[in-house]
């Protein structure tokens, strides 16, 4: 009996144990599955993050550094967009932004420092060029020998180019063009630009409009036109002409520069149009070597002074047509350009007029004798032989006679000067 009940209890207990075991097994299995899945997911996450970090270091950050430095590159996106919403993804984006900002700041600082230095150097060269220009002009006024003038013209030409180069550097570094001029006729503005380029003899200027550029804008327009002319002359063959003409429009004046050069590819046109628009900041460290300053400096001037430059059309001669448009606000009416001498013009030689004014004391003024009509053409004499002429005996005799006649005419009306030593004695010597 006892044995039978015990056995039954044992069976019951075993069954309960079995059930519990089964439940535990099932639960264990479930937990294991969940854990396995978690481990797999964590492993995948780690490898995704590794890949993302690799992408960040290998592609995104270098691109961001380049972009912040001013290069025209696109920063690649994250390789695994599903990470973007995670804390890791947010931190990666923040890192990219921070590196970019820091690089841009460093770039700006170094650019500013470089510009500051170059601007100082350019200003020094500019002032030396200006000083030299004044000296050369002084010598041109002083020396009469064609051989000397020839040398001076060459020096002046080289110096003008030097000044322009320094001016371009200064302008690219944010300085003003460095010279203030008075309002100048458009033709003078264009020819002023022609003065500053190497191939000035190949430029044909046909600008004859009665307009002048306002004082503050003369130098900027001259500089922009000079750079465009230089580009045109350099990119066309030496035998060809660069033609400049101007057209008056409703809103302003266009100076049109046509060359017969090689032209530009559409890519070059796009880049040039971007540069001359004035909307792109200019980095002097990216102008290349030899530096391509022409369009860049036009852009800086356009942004600062409010005229326009376009280089995106072809010239009728197969090259490039560059147009500088100066709006009406920067123009004034040109003054009548004929200079009228205040001391008007003497009579033709040989015709003497008796009345010749009076001195402040009311005495009649002495008038020099004028020899009979010298209508004969000027003799072709060399400078050497010309110098000998006044020394001839005949000339001297004639001079004494004329003095005698003149003094005879005056003697009755004017007392002899008290101190002859004070009289000028060589006022008419050539």
């Amino acid at each position: 009996m006892l044995t039978r009940s015990t056995a039954t209890e044992l069976w019951g207990l075993s069954a309960v144990l079995l059930v519990v075991l089964l439940v535990l097994l099932v639960r264990q299995r479930h937990v294991t599955t969940v854990q396995r899945r978690r481990i797999r997911s964590a492993e995948r996450d780690v490898s995704l993050r590794d890949e993302e970090l690799e992408n960040l270091l290998g592609n995104r950050l270098p691109a961001e550094v380049d972009r912040a430095g001013g290069a025209d590159v696109e920063v690649p996106a994250a390789r695994h967009p599903e990470l973007r919403s995670t804390r890791f993804g947010e931190l990666c984006e923040a890192l990219v932004v921070m590196v970019g900002a820091s690089e841009a700041g460093a770039h700006q600082r170094s650019s500013d420092e470089a510009k500051e230095t170059v601007r100082g150097m350019a200003a020094a060269v500019q002032s030396l060029a200006a000083e030299q220009q004044v000296a050369v002009s002084g010598m041109q006024a002083k020396h009469n020998d064609p051989a000397v003038l020839e040398g001076l013209l060459r020096i002046d030409h080289a110096n003008s180019q030097l000044g322009r180069r320094a001016q371009v550097l200064a302008v690219l570094c944010g300085a003003w063009p460095g010279t203030q001029r008075s309002a100048s006729e458009l033709s003078d503005v264009v020819r002023g630009a022609v003065s500053r380029i190497r191939d000035y003899l190949r430029i044909e200027v046909r600008v004859d409009l009665p307009v002048a550029v306002v004082d503050t804008h003369v130098e900027p327009v001259v500089l922009a036109v000079a750079e465009l002319l230089d580009n045109a002359a350099r990119s066309s063959q030496t035998g060809t002409l660069v033609r400049v003409h101007a057209e008056l429009g409703h809103n302003g004046v266009s100076v049109i520069i046509d060359d017969a050069g090689v032209g530009m590819t559409s890519e070059q046109v796009g880049r040039a149009a971007k540069l001359v628009s004035g909307r792109e900041p200019v980095d002097i460290r990216r102008l290349g070597n030899p530096p391509q300053t022409g369009f860049a400096v036009c852009g800086v001037l356009v942004a600062k002074y409010g005229f326009q430059v376009s280089v995106d059309t072809n010239s009728p001669y197969g090259g490039v047509r560059a147009v500088v448009f100066v709006p009406n606000t920067l123009l004034v009416k040109a003054e009548v350009s004929a200079p009228v001498p205040k001391t008007r013009v003497r009579d033709a030689p040989g015709t003497s007029t008796p009345a010749n004014g009076t001195t402040p004391n009311g005495l009649p003024m002495r008038r020099r004798h004028v020899p009979p009509p010298a209508s004969t053409p000027v003799p072709e004499v060399s400078p050497a032989s010309r110098q000998e002429v006044p020394q001839s005996a005949e000339r001297t005799a004639s001079a004494i006679r004329s003095w005698q006649r003149a003094s005879a005419a005056v003697a009755t009306e004017r007392p002899l000067a008290g101190n002859l030593g004070d009289q000028p004695t060589e006022d008419r010597q050539p």
Binding site: S137, P349, R368
Partner: protein, 117 residues
């Protein structure tokens, strides 16, 4: 004309003369007299046009013309020689130097007069 040419003129001399330094004729001097003979200035460069306008209606010396245009005399001579060649301007020999007597002669005369008095 651009005022205040002076030492820092906008249009430089090499452009004004087209790079030439020697006049096409050597007959022009500082005091050679010039006058315009043609009114038509079409096709001339601005400086030449100004020269012709300046010389209308009278005689002017080369030096005066240069001064009015604010150009160096040597540069003006190159332009004037061209204008004489093209028939826009005619040049004539300068008037003979006025008979200003030498200082020594005047002194002698003064001494003579003093001796008389």
């Amino acid at each position: 004309m651009t005022p205040g040419r002076g030492g820092r003129a906008l249009v430089r001399s090499h452009v004004v003369t087209g790079g030439r330094a020697t006049p096409s004729r050597n007959t022009l001097d500082h005091i050679t007299l010039i006058t315009a003979t043609k009114d038509d200035v079409a096709g001339l460069e601005p400086e030449k046009r100004r020269l012709v306008r300046l010389c209308r209606g009278g005689w002017l010396s080369v030096a005066e013309a240069a001064s009015h245009l604010d150009l160096p005399i040597s540069v003006t001579k190159v332009l004037l020689a061209d204008l004489v060649d093209s028939g826009h301007i005619t040049a004539t020999a300068p008037a003979a130097p006025a008979g200003v007597p030498p200082r020594q002669l005047l002194k002698d005369v003064l001494d003579g007069l003093r001796a008389l008095l």
